[in-house]
Symmetry: C2
């Protein structure tokens, strides 16, 4: 018995990276991938058409609306949402396989999607990415050059609303301008620390 206690288990984690649009979630995940750690990065399923250069199974799983509907019916999506006229969601089997192989699973979701995961998978670790200030978020969004003044205003208003939900998350990582590696280090530290928790929950989907 004592021997079992000595041997602290290391259960794979389900980690959700979330936060307002423009905080740098994609950039952080890209940088994380470059670290070549034994993580599984979730590939989202979508019904939208591939854009030039996008690779099936790498950027997204491109599915027909029929295929997507089937996955919904078979309860094979951990979470899904309608984005404009298209659907996107997280295939359950993929996450299950990765966890079974002992890998920590990382996924990027909007604040609403993170809330869904928290309900479906109580053991999931949720990280809210933020910026130092609202001004910095506005600056990032306007640098995208894809935002009109109106849509920028809308995104900032949404971010404010989303920040009010910060306390629903386990962690908050402030992504400071030009300090993406620091942000990635913090995410890795959170994952490492979670593996050391005495109260760990084994995730089953």
């Amino acid at each position: 018995m004592a021997e079992t206690l000595f041997n602290h288990p290391r259960y794979p984690l389900l980690v959700v990276i979330s936060g307002p649009s423009g905080v740098g979630k994609d950039a952080a995940l890209e940088r994380l991938k470059e670290r070549h750690l034994p993580f599984h990065f979730v590939v989202t399923a979508t019904t939208r058409a591939p854009r030039p250069g996008e690779v099936y199974g790498e950027d997204y799983f491109f599915l027909s609306k029929d295929q997507f509907a089937e996955m919904i019916e078979e309860d094979e999506l951990l979470e899904y949402a309608v984005v404009y006229d298209d659907f996107k969601g997280v295939p359950k089997q993929q996450v299950r396989d990765a966890l079974n192989s002992g890998k920590d699973v990382l996924m990027r979701l909007d604040v609403q999607g993170a809330a869904t995961i928290r309900n479906v998978v109580p053991g999931a670790i949720t990280i809210f990415m933020s910026t130092v200030s609202e001004a910095e978020l506005a600056e990032r969004l306007s640098m995208r050059n894809t935002e009109t003044a109106e849509s920028l205003k809308l995104r900032i208003a949404t971010a404010r609303k989303e920040l009010l939900r910060l306390k629903e998350f386990d962690y908050c990582v402030v992504n400071r301008q030009g300090e993406l590696d620091e942000t990635v280090d913090k995410i890795i530290a959170i994952i490492e620390a979670e593996h050391c928790r005495t109260h760990q929950r084994q995730i089953s989907l």
Copy 2:
């Protein structure tokens, strides 16, 4: 208000490193000191006489039994214990000063001392250091050459009892043989992750 939300606070932490005798707490703290991070390492007060080479205020605060009794009466010790015929304890003011200066405070305590701190300071972070197996702990203890067969047996029995209290701790760090830097990295990751928690408790003594 939103601006305040963006600005995630970084409250200093009180971190207790504990675990059975022989797991390597002292070695881990020594290695941590060498990293030159902005931590305050608690200097314990003791009534025992200094050993050759020990420096006042660096290794211990060497106090008379009268001085120690006074500190107990004035409630100026966070925790104290009787070790053989001598007393040792953690001076409150030192911890208070370090926290006020914004530094994370680290202290080394036995399992009983850690339990006391948990009651007195509910926001304290407690880390249980362990070894991979009981055999490894026995090996480490016997390598000390200061243990008789009887005292070794006693220490192992105590370690078994202490392991049953693991779940009272927030974290468990397994100190693998020859991997002290890995152990120190884990402790640092835990501290970094705790600073990112959305539910932080400001410590007041």
